[in-house]
Structures are given as C-alpha cells and as structure tokens.
C-alpha cells in the first residue's frame, strides 16, 4: 500500500514496528514504532506518557514527510 501511494506522487511515511519488513517491501520514509501490539504509544506507562510518546512519533513522522530523501531512510 505504501508503494502504491508513493507511486502516484503522495508523500507517505510508514510508522511500523518491524523495520526490516518495511525495508523489504520498499517504503522510503520509515519511522520505527514502539511495539507490535502497541505501535503508537506505550500502554504499560501512564495514559499521559503513552500519549506523549504517540505525539513524538507522529511529529517524527511529519518531519520525515518534510525531509528530502533519495533512498530508503529510517528516521530513528
């Protein structure tokens, strides 16, 4: 799905837990997520902290979308 979105010229960031899979399929802007059962946030922490983590990840995703890349790039 990532590639089809990018193919029509829409910038896309893939926020995902298993980065090697994302690289294999060919996503160009990748943000590593937290965990498989909770990619955006951390429910083992308090609700506020979990949301803060989510906000940081989304911000990193937006930054990735604003960054020029020439090859597959992981935004750690």
């Amino acid at each position: 799905m990532v590639k089809e979105i990018e193919r029509v010229g829409i910038p896309v960031v893939h926020i995902c837990t298993v980065v090697p899979i994302s690289k294999t399929i060919g996503a160009n802007r990748i943000v590593p997520a937290i965990g498989i059962p909770y990619p955006l946030g951390d429910p083992t922490k308090s609700a506020e902290q979990s949301k803060k983590i989510r906000r940081e990840l989304v911000e990193r995703g937006l930054k990735a979308l604003e960054t020029p890349v020439s090859e597959q790039t992981v935004f750690e």
Partner: protein, 349 residues
C-alpha cells in the same frame, strides 16, 4: 558412530507456549526435540539427533533483533551442532524474519550449515533468499508433512557436503544464483525450440530470468505542512465496532474506509481491532495506539498540519498476500488524489 547433531529453532506458538499472549517470551533452550522437531527427527532417522530446541517469542525477536540473536547464539553454540534448522515459518511474517535472522547469524558465527522453510510470500523470503536455503512450504502448518522430506534431503546433503542442485529440483526458493553447465544442445537450437513453443502457445521458460525490482522513487517532501491535508492508512486491522464489512482477521481480501468526522479521538466504543497477528488487548482498550487520531486532532487545531481527512483507510496486514495489498493501494489512491490528500501516515503493527 556418533550421531549428527541438529539444533532446531521454533517460536512461541510451535513450542506450545501459546499464541499472541506468549509472543513476548524471551529465548529459552530445551534439550531434545519438541513440536515440529519431532517430525523432523523421525524423518532424519537414527543417524541424527535433535540435541536441543531453542525457542523465542515472535514479538520479542522482532522488537529486539540484535539481543535475541546474541542470546540464541549463546544457547546454540555449546551443543556444537552439525546442522541448524529454523521453522518452517510457513506464512507467519514475524516468525519468518526471526528464522532468517537466526539462520544467517548461525551460519556466519558458528560456520555450520543452516536450513529454514517459508511460504513464498512470507516477507522473510525476500529478506533472506539470497543468503539462505529457504525451503518452499505451503502457507500453513498443514504443509509440514510435505516439507519434512525436503528438510531431510537437503539437511543430509548439507551435513555431508554433497552438491545442492537447482531450486526446482531440490524444493527450495530461488536464490538468484546462476550455475554454469554444459547443455546437450547448442544455443541456436534451444532458441528455436523456445520460439516454436511460444508460437504454439506452450510454456516457454526463459533460460535467463531477470531479477524483478519493484521500487518506487521517493517523492519530493511536503513543503507546507501547515496547509497539507493528511490521511491515515493502517494495516493494523482497526474497524468500526461489529466489523460491518467483515474484513478478515488475517489474509485480508478487502479494505475499508471509515469516517472519523467530528471525532476527537479513537473511542473504544466506536472502534475495535480484528487483526489476528498481535495481542489485541491493548488496542481494544485504546485504538489510538494504531490510529493516532487524538494527537493528530491536536496538531490540526494547533495548525501544525493543515487538515485531517475525515476518514481512515484500513485492512489487516497479517498473512495478507502482497498482491492483495498492492491491489488495495491501487484502488484507493484515486480517492486520495480526488480528496486533495497531500501526505499519508501509514501505520503497521
């Protein structure tokens, strides 16, 4: 004569430790064969023994690739095996990645032959097919019976240092290695034969297949985020309560587009997850863990982003054929274009 020693790697599920609830388990070592190793042991016969079975949870492995690999290596090494087998992983993506990762590490660090098996659409295949012999299996554990003799045959050849023939003959997935051989007929004759087959509409397999690269050039970045309309897409299986379109919990054949108009956050009263590839407990409680609607709404109000599309697009990623996922994408990009979407955040579990 001493027996040849095999060490076998399996995941939480095949070890009997449990499904998603056990996917976080750390590496463990057990003496002897267990789970699918019992069938392998029987096939390999009396000259072989499975000295140990090492087990690791798929999530623990996926989230800690380096640590998990190091821990497992330290468990495998003392047994001084002659052969290492991982899986088979069938169509389980995380398990396939784990099998490939540990096989590659064992081959490199311990210098012994390794074998694994997967269904050809497992994401582990493209990651490791060039490095490893990956036996071609069916997409579920029902294919174990057919896979066992292939493991035995190839395993024996590897241990004894015998020649491994081509992928079609031996039953493994093509590695992209060319081997020179002397053909009976010269090239011009073979070319004419192929042409005649083609003219007759028969199958005419090329002697020189080209690798397929499906890569998309990165798009130019977003330059004006504060005026950009963003859409959320996910493979995390989030659907409205009741799953009105019956999106499958694995091997999805469809996707859905659902409204988030007027919503401040993903409320568990409105949404659920049907994804069959992870422990759903956390996301059931808080769907924002997959669709970060709460923080995107804040950013919309703060003017960080221009606007959020009033829907999200969703399917289940686990076990889903890459061909299906591609078709979903091809199908919904028209809508994204029409709606003036300037950037997409795609989340995966």
């Amino acid at each position: 004569m001493a027996k040849y020693k095999i060490v076998h790697y399996i995941n939480n599920f095949f070890s009997g430790a449990g499904g998603e609830e056990a996917a976080g388990m750390r590496p463990e070592v057990h003496e002897g064969a267990m789970g699918p190793g019992l069938a392998l042991l029987e096939a390999f016969g009396e000259d072989y023994e499975i000295a140990a079975t090492v087990v690791c949870g798929d999530n623990y492995f996926g989230e800690n690739l380096e640590d998990a690999t190091a821990e497992l290596l330290s468990m495998i090494e003392p047994f001084k095996p002659d052969l290492f087998i991982a899986g088979p992983a069938f169509n389980a993506g995380r398990y396939g990645v784990a099998c490939g990762t540990i096989c590659k590490a064992v081959e490199k660090e311990l210098g012994i032959p390794v074998l694994t098996g997967m269904y050809e659409e497992n994401p582990g295949v493209d990651m490791f097919r060039k490095d490893l012999i990956v036996i071609k299996t069916k997409n579920s554990a029902a294919g174990m019976r057919k896979a066992v003799p292939v493991f035995k045959n190839l395993g024996e050849k590897l241990v004894k240092g015998e020649e491994i023939l081509g992928p079609d003959i031996e039953g493994y997935l093509e590695r992209g290695i060319r081997v020179n051989y002397f053909a009976e007929k010269r090239g011009s004759e073979r070319a004419i034969e192929l042409l005649v087959k083609k003219c007759r509409g028969e199958e005419c397999p090329t002697e020189y297949p080209m690798p397929k690269f499906d890569r998309v050039e990165p798009t130019a970045p977003v330059t004006d985020m504060a005026h950009t309309k963003i859409a959320i897409v996910t493979s995390g299986g989030i659907v409205p309560q009741g799953n009105p379109d019956h999106i499958e919990s694995s091997s999805a054949t469809k996707y859905g587009i659902y409204s988030i108009a007027g919503m401040e956050r993903m409320d568990k009263k409105d949404f659920m997850t049907v994804h069959g590839g992870y422990d759903r407990a956390f996301v059931t409680e808080d769907p924002n863990l997959v669709i970060p609607l709460d923080v995107l709404r804040e950013m919309e109000k703060e003017g960080v982003i221009g606007e959020l599309a009033d829907y999200f697009i969703t399917t289940t990623g686990t076990g889903t054929a890459t061909g299906n996922a591609k078709a979903f994408g091809e199908d919904f990009v028209g809508k994204l274009k029409e709606d003036g979407i300037g950037a997409v955040i795609l989340t995966s579990t």
